[in-house]
Structure formats: C-alpha cells, structure tokens
Amino acid sequence: MRTDSDLAQVRKAAQQLHAAISDAAAKQGGAAKADIESLTQKAKAVRDSLKASVSAQDEVTKKHLNAAAAALDALQKHIAEAVKSSGRELHTSMRKTLADARASAQQVSEAIAMQRSTQSSKSHN
C-alpha cells in the first residue's frame, strides 16, 4: 500500500537531512561547522513541510509527526549550539544533532507505517 506523496516527500527530506548531518559529522572543526550551519535552512524546510502535512492525518499519525517536529526543533537548537562551539562541545552538539535527525526520520517513518496499516485495513474491509 503506497502512502500519500506529501508524507513520502517529508520522509525523503528527513532521510536526506540525516545523511547530510552524518557527512558533516565526519569532518573536523571549521569544516564541520560550516557544513552543519548550511543545513539550518534545510532543517527548517523539512519541519515546515512536515507541519503542513499534519492536519490531513489521523490522530496516531499526527502524534508521530508532532514528535518528528519536536525532534527537528531540537535539531535546529543543537545546530545553533554547534556553530558557536568548538572541541568537545562541538562534538557533543554534532552528536545531539545527528540523534535529533535520526529521531525525526524514525518518527516520520512510523507515521508512514501507521498510514499504510490503516489504508491496508480499509482495503481489506
């Protein structure tokens, strides 16, 4: 059962965000900071498109999408911290940012699973 294209696009964007952050995390110091800072807008765009798709969903799906939005809020906060830090603090912020990206991708994916399951049940009834 295919899911709606809006949610599929949000998921793809969240996956790409995780990939970009993990690539940035492989770099050191200034290079890592520059890369991570450039992802601020992308993170905001993912969050905005996610929020735009929430209203059309059922309650359980909404719960996952709201959790994903919260993770993206935290991610933006941790990016801001990373840009202002260095050394161990930078590493800690990068790690938190990556964890936030992972959590947001997981929540969107779980929202899609819920949607697919619901659609599958309806088609069998």
């Binding site: 995780h18 997981q106 994916s109 779980e110």
Partner: protein
C-alpha cells in the same frame, strides 16, 4: 507489527542484495523500514559493521549501540553479553567498526520459536532492520528467494530489555538504504 529482523546470508555481497530488496519492499509499500544496516563476521570471529566514514566518537557510539542490539537479537542470554562486550569497542578505522562481543549465542535461554536465534558463522553476514509489517510473508518470501534466513524479535521485547541504558538500538541503524561504495547491487 513492529519488529527487528535479522536476515542471515552466506556473505556480505548477498546481504547487501537483501538490504536493497528490503528497501524495495518499502518503496512498494509492502513493509516500512525504519532503519537498517549490515553486519558481518570476519575470519577472526569478530563482528564488523560497515558505516559511513565518521567522527571516531560517533563511530564508537554506533559500535556500542549495535553491539547491544546484536545482543538483544540473541534474546535475554545474549543481551548481557552484547551490552558488556559492546562497551569495549574501539574507534572506527576506515568506516568499519569492530563489534568485539560474541553476542549471538542464544542457546541458554527460553524464547518463542519465532524469535531470533541469531548466530553468524565466520564469513556470514546479516541485514539488521527495524521494520513495521502487517504480515511476515513479504519479507520472508523475498529474503528466502535471495538465500536469506529471516529471524525476528518484536520491537517491544527488545525495548523492554532494561540493560540498554542510554543506547536506543534503532538509533544506530541508517534510516535509509545505505550501501557502502564497492558493492554493486
């Protein structure tokens, strides 16, 4: 159903074919894959996880988290081994992490038959994935076609294992299809 699956293949090349097929099932809407990776056991008996090149600190965390997850897939007996052994993992070298724990001997515990009895012989590889599925047939059928043996453990039973501590197991699985360079799928 929300499950962790371990699909055992004869080698890494076949495991990546399995990984690709799993994500194809996701694209087709047959299952939803929340995260996945491939582990293999080298000739010394150690577990290796292909990762992207990353900061050594992050790599260590991945190794610890996956060590714990491998233990969880072995069930309660393997769990303690996985958590303890996983904590001793060194930093990554060239994007490959050694999971030193032999976390997969599951012969001393009581588990339902359909739960994971996850054991890898040297040279073998396994796809580890966090999936949602309405039925097990899609994954079982496709993986069997590719020569894989599927084992499952429910997501809730893995997460109920208190020894995980700070390491949330699915955090260390890629939330997309990641196939390292060099594997032609």
């Amino acid at each position: 159903m929300h499950d962790y699956v371990a699909v055992i293949f004869k080698d890494t090349e076949n495991a990546y074919r399995g990984l690709h097929a799993l994500w194809e099932l996701d694209s087709d809407g047959e299952v939803t894959v929340h995260g996945s990776t491939v582990v293999h056991r080298d000739e010394f008996g150690d577990f290796q996880v292909d990762t992207k090149e990353t900061h050594p600190g992050l790599a260590t965390a991945v190794g610890v988290g996956l060590g714990a997850l491998l233990g969880a897939l072995a069930g309660p007996a393997g769990a303690a081994i996985g958590a303890a052994g996983g904590a001793g993992i060194g930093a990554a070298a060239g994007g490959v992490i050694g999971v030193t724990a032999d976390a997969v001997r599951a012969d001393t515990h009581h588990q339902a038959k359909d739960e994971v009895a996850f054991a890898l012989a040297p040279g073998q590889a396994a796809v580890i994935a966090d999936v949602s599925e309405d039925a097990t047939a899609a994954i079982d059928t496709r993986m069997r076609e590719l020569g894989g043996i599927v084992r499952r453990r429910s997501w809730s039973s893995v997460h109920d294992d208190a020894w995980f501590g700070d390491y949330i197991p699915n955090s260390y699985l890629y939330p997309y299809e990641y196939i390292p360079p060099g594997y032609a799928i």
